[in-house]
């Protein structure tokens, strides 16, 4: 049987976008920025999406004070014009701590000024490899309420496969040292890993447990249809099983990817950009002040995220009219036929946009992980069906299948996505 024959397509379903009255939501207001304060890194991870695009070397190594100040002019302008409930900036890289504590402190001071002047909270976070964290960085994080997320791929034997120094040495001990420092001050931090399916999910989970990390995510490796990829299905099925067992009687652990997929399956919403049907609207500010769409899209090739917008000539909201940004957003909503006809379309959303790319079709593909994602959703769905009940007014807990039998054809509502998109 060919891969196409095995595909999760409901044959004969009506194409939901054939109805020309179906329109996509207009873009939202820009309120969430990834700010590349450093375009270089101090370690050499083999899978890094950032350095797959050689044009990143054309950008200044660090964001200048002039660019940072102009960015905040635009942030204040955006807040004043659109009154978002909060404004959020992730200081990112490369390795953002290369920007230095002085710059972090100065930027945070100026953000507080913008918040004071506008009445809108301006929140800062950073994602770091943790290598440079020291006592003075801890002071900076604490004094400025900067949320910290540390990238660490589980235990040393997994982490050090890809996350190496430029001399090819291991980095795990350096990162763990940074984590211990954060713990020494009781500074809450997030943990992000990248899945390496050559290892068991259990390896990651035991390590995160050992460092007391109960909220974390393990991201799908960035890949597109022009890359070689490894199957991640078994890894995430195991991850879900672990999550389920750990949370059986008490809520002890949160794994964002698992919860994003599961939420979509039970009628809720995903809070991850990697899962669920919705538009890709994140914006990235480069060290030279350029405004771009989601930075991971650069795995599609050199300069693939370039736009004509920058903080000197444009308001932040101008990005939504840029052809490149609009194309990325459109691609996130305009799914390929296989996805449109898949019963998991709403929960999956076609997968993460960068993972759909191929040189041949652009983004008009399912995720490179489509078969894996389908198997994960099938596994989750089978388990969820047995774990959800309809609690009736007389105190009875009916299984979903029993509830459906009782409710008869009334419960056999048309499956997504056709029922929603064709309304």
């Amino acid at each position: 049987m060919s891969a196409a024959d095995a595909s999760p397509v409901r044959h004969g379903a009506q194409d939901p976008t054939a109805d020309e009255t179906v329109k996509f939501n207009p873009p939202g207001v820009v309120w969430n920025l990834v700010v590349k304060v450093a375009a270089r890194c101090n370690i050499d991870c083999s899978y890094c999406y950032w350095f797959r695009d050689p044009s990143v070397y054309d950008a200044p190594k660090l964001m200048s004070e002039r660019v940072a100040d102009q960015l905040l002019v635009r942030v204040k302008e955006q807040i004043t014009r659109y009154s978002p409930p909060e404004f959020y900036m992730v200081l990112h890289g490369g390795e953002p701590l290369l920007w230095g504590r002085t710059n972090f402190q100065s930027f945070a001071d100026k953000c507080r000024r913008v918040a004071d002047e506008t009445g809108c909270p301006v929140r800062l976070g950073t994602t770091t490899n943790g290598v440079l964290i020291d006592e003075r960085w801890l002071d900076c994080f604490q004094e400025n309420d900067i949320g910290v997320t540390v990238s660490i791929d589980g235990p040393a034997h997994v982490h050090d496969v890809h996350r190496k120094t430029f001399a090819g040495g291991p980095t795990h001990a350096l990162v763990e040292r940074g984590i211990r420092l954060l713990e020494s001050r009781d500074i809450p931090f997030g943990v992000l890993a990248v899945c390496n399916p050559a290892f068991a999910a259990k390896d990651y989970l035991e390590y995160f447990s050992s460092i007391g990390a109960t909220e974390f995510d393990i991201l799908l490796p960035d890949s597109n249809h022009d890359d070689r990829r490894q199957s991640i299905g078994q890894f995430y099925r195991d991850l879900f099983d672990f999550w389920l067992a750990a949370n059986q009687k008490e809520r002890t652990i949160r794994i964002r990817s698992v919860e994003a997929m599961l939420s979509g399956l039970i009628g809720g919403r995903s809070e991850s950009e990697a899962f669920g049907y919705g538009s890709e609207e994140l914006c990235t500010i480069l060290t030279d002040g350029s405004i771009e769409p989601l930075d991971v899209l650069r795995i599609a090739g050199a300069s693939s995220t370039r736009t004509a917008c920058n903080v000197f000539d444009n308001a932040l909201q101008d990005i939504v009219d840029d052809a490149g940004w609009k194309a990325a957003r459109r691609a996130s909503l305009d799914l390929c036929e296989k996805c449109r006809n898949c019963k998991y379309m709403m929960a999956c959303g076609g997968g993460y946009l960068p993972h759909r790319f191929s040189k041949e079709n652009g983004y008009n593909n399912p995720s490179v992980y489509c078969d894996d994602l389908y198997s994960i959703f099938e596994h989750m769905q089978a388990v969820v069906q047995k774990n959800i009940y309809i609690s009736t007014p007389d105190g009875e807990n009916l299984s979903v299948s029993d509830a459906m039998k009782i409710s008869g054809s009334a419960a056999a509502a048309p499956a997504e996505p056709q029922s929603r998109l064709n309304r």
Binding site: F24, N25, G28, N32, P85, V90, H92, T126, G147, T149, P188, F189, G190, L192, A201, L205, E206, I211, G212, T214, E215, F216, D241, F242, L244, A245, A246, N247, Q248, E250, R256, E259, G264, L265, I266, G267, G268, R269, S270, E271, S272, E273, S279, L282, F377, Q381, N387, I388, Y389, I390, T392, L398, A403, I406, S407, A411, A413, A415, E416, R420
Partner: protein
């Protein structure tokens, strides 16, 4: 069986009475059902069930208000809300076999 979309759950709950609701014996799933229960409680919210938070993501086109299931709150590389420091590390049991999810 198809996924338990909000529409399917709403139908099941409606059939079984006004105070029927959806629950799980698994605490993790039950917590994720919390927002879904909120939406099911007020049928008038169904039309806007998946459109976002109704403010800065507000949709002005009536026919597409309910098609999105994704509501990204944070960029993925800082997507983890900082954990509240616990008094000691939780040591959940790693998966060991095939029956743990029963």
């Amino acid at each position: 069986m198809d996924p338990l979309t909000l529409k399917v759950l709403a139908t099941l709950v409606q059939v079984h009475g006004a105070s029927a609701t959806v629950v799980s014996t698994n605490k993790g799933i039950d917590e994720l059902l919390g927002p879904v229960r909120g939406q099911l409680q007020d049928q008038t919210q169904l039309a806007a069930s998946s459109k976002g938070d109704g403010s800065i993501f507000n949709c002005t086109l009536p026919h597409c208000k309910d098609i999105y299931t994704k509501q990204v709150k944070y960029y993925k590389y800082t997507g983890i809300a900082p954990a509240t420091k616990s008094t000691g590390p939780t040591k959940p049991t790693p998966p060991t076999g095939g029956s743990k999810h029963k």
